[in-house]
Symmetry: C2
Subunit: 218 residues, 2 copies
DNA sequence: GCGACTTTCTATACATGTATAGAAAGTAAC
DNA sequence: GTTACTTTCTATACATGTATAGAAAGTCGC
């Protein structure tokens, strides 16, 4: 490995990531701006862009670090493939929910970070074990992933909406329901808010597993 | 209705929405900035903020207009409840995919616009018809919605990634796969890109319907 | 040591969403 | 009319991500 040419770097990708972690940990995710980060590592904002393509990629790398610490629990002993898929999906979602800025990243890529590949691996493996072809297993994983990403996004949007208590556009909609054209929704009416605040993630994954995997032998 | 007090408005919400539609139609979604919009209706940017809380709300209202034109196809004649759910979900997704800036809005709310309420109504009604309680039917709708939102987001992220052909972070990940810890993924290897470009939305909805609704009578 | 080349860093600039302060233009009370 | 009040609009300012141009600081061939 010969010495590199060019002006020697003052900062490294690692410096940036370390500082980013520190800022987020101490002051929360909204404090993480490129300018702030630059100050933190003692350089100018644009210097960061030689180590990182853009802020999205930075967040992706941060996610990677977080993912390395995400648990990869053993599947419950003696569980069938279906239960393994459910367990992996639930763990994956739980891990991601702990990352506060996850929503910005979910838009950026449809597969997770390198160090979280344990989850797809486990899901795909269990699906194959259940009798799917590898191709079908990949489909199954992607479907579960889309569901998971959508659920997390919606959940965090709902949380933000609760913070600033804007009259939620939605409540207005539900005031003026035309009971003739939309009888079901009108009947639900005021209960909608309560009903849609329930956590139905598990229910959804289980439904997907039931619908995607062949039924287990009796 | 007495005359209103205060300085009389120069512009109306309708003016704004009309101009916004025109800009998007003629120059695409990235041309729609608050400054541009202000120029278009002949006022200053900040004046818009008296008619619209922020850009997100503006997009939400735009979506509402689009949604009014989204088709609400008759369910296939003689179809069971399951088929009705699938048909509605597919139509909903198709309608939303036609809205180019849909991704910005999907983060903002977890129920769709007022004039697209036909879709949840149809899905919930079919689910009740299939034998679910109203509460379960709402759960089912929300689960389908999360899946749909996640799928659309991922799809549009993938499309953007193809435009600028950045080496996708993902491809790098798949180069350095540890075949011992991640045998399934390693085996898939180069086929991953091809496999994950397939459209599996239908498959997913059908699986959800199978998993959520009671089996139809034979 | 010197010029070419490469990599990293700095300075400056721009577009964007939006906060804030206050001016403008009307109605209502007297 | 004058004053108070309300609504809408204008001017200005700021933080943010990032583009662009070029300066700085090294290595390499000679």
């Amino acid at each position: 490995m010969p010495a590199r040419t060019g002006r020697p770097p003052k900062i490294s990708k690692t410096d940036i990531l370390t500082a980013a972690h520190r800022v987020i940990h101490e002051e929360g995710t909204q404090a993480l701006t490129m300018r702030r980060l630059a100050r933190e590592v003692g350089t100018t904002p644009m210097a960061l862009y030689h180590h990182v393509r853009d802020k999205d990629e930075l967040l992706l790398m941060l996610l990677d670090d977080y993912a390395a610490r995400m648990p990869s629990p053993e599947p419950p002993a003696g569980a069938g493939p279906g239960e393994r898929v459910v367990a992996a999906a639930v763990a994956m979602r739980e891990g991601l929910m702990g990352v506060p800025w996850i929503v910005e990243v979910l838009r950026a890529d449809d597969l997770m970070s390198a160090r979280a590949l344990w989850y797809p691996e486990e899901i795909i493996d269990a699906a194959v074990q259940a009798g799917l072809t590898p191709e079908e297993a990949v489909d199954a994983y992607r479907i579960i992933w889309h569901y998971t990403a959508g659920e997390i996004t919606a959940r965090s949007a709902a949380a933000r909406r609760r913070e600033d208590d804007r009259p939620t556009h939605r409540s207005q909609v539900f005031e003026n329901l035309d009971a003739t054209r939309l009888p079901r929704l009108a009947a639900l009416g005021p209960r909608w808010a309560e009903l849609t605040s329930r956590d139905t993630y598990d229910k959804g994954v289980r439904a997907l597993v039931r619908g995607l995997l062949p039924p287990p032998p009796p």
